[in-house]
């Protein structure tokens, strides 16, 4: 559906996304009690990323935006990744060759 040529999300779509987010929320809580060892954090993050993606794509209407918006989002996340990767590179490698942690 659209007004003035601008696309509008249907109520059905929005409610469907909402219900998916609820299911994923229940899943993330439930799966936290299952012993996945080191995989727990990865699974929790994966579910969170899925939820965030649904919010961004459907609730924030990024699917209707120009290509610039996803570029902006990915660009911003890239620099956050730089902070994580390069700083962790220091902390991970401090234990090598007898350096203190």
């Amino acid at each position: 559906m659209s007004t003035n040529g601008h696309p509008v999300s249907s109520v059905r779509t929005l409610v469907a996304v909402f219900l998916s987010l609820m299911v994923l929320t229940a899943l993330t809580t439930g799966i936290a009690f299952v012993n996945l060892g080191a995989g727990s954090t990865a699974v929790a993050l994966a579910i969170a990323i899925a939820k965030a993606s649904l919010v961004v794509w459907f609730f924030m209407n990024v699917r209707f935006n120009t290509r610039l918006i996803p570029v902006v989002i990915v660009g911003g996340l890239f620099f956050l990744l730089v902070l994580f990767v390069e700083t962790f590179a220091d902390y991970f490698s401090r234990g090598w060759y007898g350096h203190g942690r």
């Binding site: 007004t3 003035n4 929005l14 996304v17 993330t28 609730f59 924030m60 918006i69 902006v72 994580f84």
Partner: protein
Amino acid sequence: MAAEAPGGSPGLAHHFDSYEQQKEAATLGMWLFIVQEILFFGGLFFAYALFRWKFPVAFNHASRHLDVTLGTFNTAVLIGSSLTVALAVRSAQLAKPRRIVGYLLGTAALGLVFLGVKAYEYHHKWVEHLVPGPDFRFDGPGAENARIFFSLYFGMTGLHALHMVVGIGILLFLLRPAWQGKYTPENHNMIEGFGLYWHFVDIIWIFLFPLLYLAGRHHQL
């Protein structure tokens, strides 16, 4: 909003050539603001990741002191408020002023529920001596490190809550113009911008909840 330009374009600022240009500018501006907020919270997420990697036992024990039921409930509440604000934006796109106000009020109500639960949780932490400060007391392994967990817990959820309070404040300012029909299908950038902001605050919580509340829950402690 801006005075009516000659030729009858209410709400079109003088330095823009069209509603389309104004809308594109508002959307891009809001997303850039959100990106900087991501970097802002990102610093805290990094600190959390670092210290959880360093002190997994202390963090798992500390995380047990958070109430999973309340946390899950709050997550659901906030997602619900994202639905209501998305419906408010849709109502603006369809020129339905009364519905904009209704959905915005619903958003505010759910936001207040969230904050109420958080206030309850904070009070509980205070009573349990888990607020970092002179009264901090933690019984469990890695007590000094647990202090960092709670510092980050209060810092991150506190900053998040502050963003919600600001959001609700802004929402209140949108109610009157919405009721008066000021937000038209061509020009409802304030509602869209607010919606983007609110969704972003929801997304922060989507990451905060599992990281803070669900750390190491499967372990037998």
